[in-house]
Every structure is written in C-alpha cells, then in structure tokens.
C-alpha cells in the first residue's frame, strides 16, 4: 500500500514537473464547431477510430508528425511514442483500413488550416492560439 502511494506521489511529481517544463498543448477546432470532446474522444479521433463529430459531420484530423508538441500530444493523449504511433499507422495505411491525419509542420500552418475548415481538428502549442480557432481542450 505504502509502495503504491510512494509510486503515485512519484508519478504525480513527474507529471507536474514535466508539465511545468513542457509547453501546454491546445486542441483546436473551427470557431463554429460546437462539439464537446473529452480526452477519450480526442484520442479516438486522432487514432482514426471515430470519424464523425457528434453532429454527424465528417472529421478531418490534422497532426504534426514530429517535434516537442507532437511528442507531448502523442504521449499524453494517444499514450504512444512516435515509433508506436508510426507502427500503428503503418498497419492501417498499408492494408487500406485507415487514413492517418493530414500532417503539417508548424503551429502557424496548423492554426491556418483549422481556421479555414469547419471539420478540422488539430493541436498546437497554447502560445500559438489566436482568435481564428477555438480551444476545446488543453493538456
């Protein structure tokens, strides 16, 4: 019991320390998007398991393949490192059973893309968010 407690304290210390050090990730959608999405829904969307928003429109997820924000999002929300995620998508892409998110390479491109289409969802460093998009979750 005590061991578990110590482990839990250790875990939270690590989590809090790392979130202090690392930037905050903001999940963004078009301002007109009224969807309420919890972490599990966001995870399912970015793994291609959910393809429709609650209102029935088709989701177009946007992601970054590498970089600190992508690593943080993959680890915290998708619970996979970049290699695991690459293997996950390889499996689906080369069998024609899934389509990975569309990739962009910068926060600016991500904000621009999400601001430009009602069905897009993406993630950026919180510091890069502006009025053109809506933040629905932060990690």
């Amino acid at each position: 019991m005590r061991n578990k407690l110590i482990k839990a304290i250790g875990f939270f210390t690590v989590v809090f320390t790392s979130s202090n050090v690392l930037a905050e990730v903001a999940v963004i959608v078009h301002p007109s998007n009224t969807s309420q999405l919890n972490t599990e829904s966001i995870k399912r969307i970015f793994l291609g398991k959910d393809v429709l928003f609650p209102d029935g429109s088709k989701i177009a997820p946007m992601a970054m393949e590498s970089g600190p924000i992508a690593d943080e999002f993959n680890q915290k929300v998708l619970e996979r490192n970049s290699s695991q995620l690459k293997a996950y998508w390889s499996k689906l892409v080369f069998t024609g059973k899934g389509v990975p998110p569309e990739y962009v390479t910068s926060d600016a491109d991500m904000v621009k893309a999400v601001a430009g289409a009602a069905n897009k969802i993406g993630f950026v460093n919180s510091a890069s968010v502006d009025d053109s998009v809506k933040v629905i979750a932060t990690f």
Binding site: L52, S82, K86, A87, F94, T95, G96
Partner: protein, 386 residues
Amino acid sequence: MNTFKKSLSKATCLIAALGFVASASAEVKLSGFASFVGGKFSEDSYSYLEYDNDFSFSPDTVLGIQLGADLADDIKVTAQLISKGLNDYDVEVELAYLTYSVNPFWDVRVGRLRTPLFYYSDFLDVGYAYPWIRPPSVTYRVDAASFDGMDMLYRTRLGGWDSTFQLVYGADEEENVESNGLYGLTMTFNRDWLTFRLGYISSEVTVFSEELVPIFDGIRAAGFGDVADDFDPGQPRRSRYLAAAMIVDYNDWLVNMEYTQVGWDKSSIFLHDSAWFAMVGRRFGDYTVHLTYSTQEDDPDFEDNTIPLSGVPAGIATLGNVLNAIISNEQQDSLTLGVRYDVAGGVALKAEVTRYSLDIAEPLFPGQQSNVDDGTLFNIGLDIVF
C-alpha cells in the same frame, strides 16, 4: 470461372492504370516500406526459409511502394508495388484495388487484395509494423498472399468494442495453384489493449504438379481410381481454413497468440494440419524483447489410402507405399528470441535467433523412418516506413 478471373485480372490492371491516370488530376499519395534482412542457417545439408550455411540477404529483403489517389469524395484507388529478394527483385503489383466508401463505416473494395488468412497477413510485408523479422513461419505456412475479387469492410462499435467485419469473395491463379470460389469472413474486436480476431476462409483449390501426375495415373491404371481422385491435388478440392488470434499490448507487455487449422472436403497429401504460436514481449523504452514458440502438426489421411500393401502384386503394394510416402506427416517447432530497437520514428533495427526442428507427426506409415532435422537461424534486419 476462368473468364471471371481473367476479367478480374483485367480489372486489376485497369485499376492500376486508373491510379496513374488519376495522378494527372488528383493528388497521389506515396508511401512505402522496406526491410533489409540478412541471415544464416546453422546447417549445411538442408536449408530453412531459403537460408543455408552461407550468409544471405535475399530471402526476407523486401521493398514496397504504395500509391493512393482520391478519384472522388467516396472513391479512391490504391496500388502496391513490391520487389522481393525471393523473386530476384522483380517488381510485382501485389495489391491494386478501388475503394468505394458507401458511408464512413462501410467500404467496398474491388481488385487485387490481401487474402486475410492470419492476423498479420494484411501487412506481412511491412516488417516495421510487427516486432519480429517475420511472423512465426511455422504457423504462417499458408502461401496465398493475395487474390482477385472483392471485399466489404464494416466498422462499428459493439458494447465498447471497436469491431471490424470483412467479407471476401474472389479467386486466385498462381503458377501451380488455382483457387476458385474463394469466400471468407473475418471479425476483429478491439478494446484498449486487447484485440481478438476470428477468421474463416474457404476456396476450391487445384494444384498442378508434374511430379504427381505419373503417380496418380499409375494408381488409376491399377484400378484404384477412387483413391486417386480422393488424394490427387490436381482434382479440385475445397479447403476450410479457421483462424483465431488474441493480441495484448498492456503496459509495455505484449502477448500474441494465434491458432489456425486447415481441413479439406477430400483426403489431402498436404496442408491438412493445425498450427499455433504464442509470443511474449516486453518494451523497455526504445527496445522490445520477445520470445515466441510456434508449432505445426499434420493430420495425415493414411487411413483413406485403401491400396493393399500385402497379398497383392508387388507393383500395387509399391503404389500404396508411394502414396503413403507423399502424404505429409510432419511436425515442426520453432523457438525465437529477438530484439527490436526503434532507432527513430519509421526506422527499426532487429536481431533474432530461431531454433527450428522438423519431426514426424504420428502415425508413421508402414516402414517410415523417423528422421529429425533441426538447426538455428540467425537474422539481423533494418525496417523502414516512409
């Protein structure tokens, strides 16, 4: 049936061509994978998985390019070109199909598709997507990678389980094997760290073998036409293939198990068997260590060989013995210890040692020698996806 297949092959070419035409108007997505694998088998007198005592790079080395283009919102074409060391690096169109998305949950695909025999069949050539250099070959023994035809994919969520149902129908024609009226159903259920897969496939198989023709002609000439028809793989026979798999990926622990079974509506001289494997692996950061046991055992149909072996002219007894000798009754085991190192996203290094042994499955036919072959296979490999 032949006409049906030929028109399907034409359809396949057409779809491939369409893909390239589409490149003019639609955006073509290019992705690819490659595995560079070297290996050496411990024995001189026989080889295993095409490896012998000399270090070789060809048996498992593969390069693949996938082209995909959206022709419309709900229609896309996909083609996969593959070059394998095993085929002298000839470039072959392994997959070429048109996908029509009825809605976000229903896909209908027509063309050349993967035969969904095993859990890893769909991405057998994509080494990066699994921990080994290759899935355990003692279990992955059925060599029918692709077929011409169609499938329907239906995705849904059943009580928290992400479920995929796949119906396939088609045919396949290889150099020595023809497969007609192929149909099957696979079901995959996934929830968090747990995945189950069930599959059933049946097809009417005809095998053309010049070595077998004189044997079965002899048996027919001796008046045992019914026995010849029962065993001769040159006579079409329907296969029944069953597969069940469980895949676990929990807190860096990996457990994979797969059981498969092949049966026929007639007696068979080969591939009447069952096989399974179990793998336990553990991820340590960028390293994955895994141990796999795999076994296969034939279920020989000696009792259906009713050619008398005694009290008949020597020629007839010889035919009976020859038939017994070509009925496969093997038993194979393999134990593989391997490590995978994820160098970077899309690049992995692998090393593996496989202890393989070939034995005799009971019963022995009269006079059969129980010979045991075994050996150790060493492999190193580099897998990439892009």
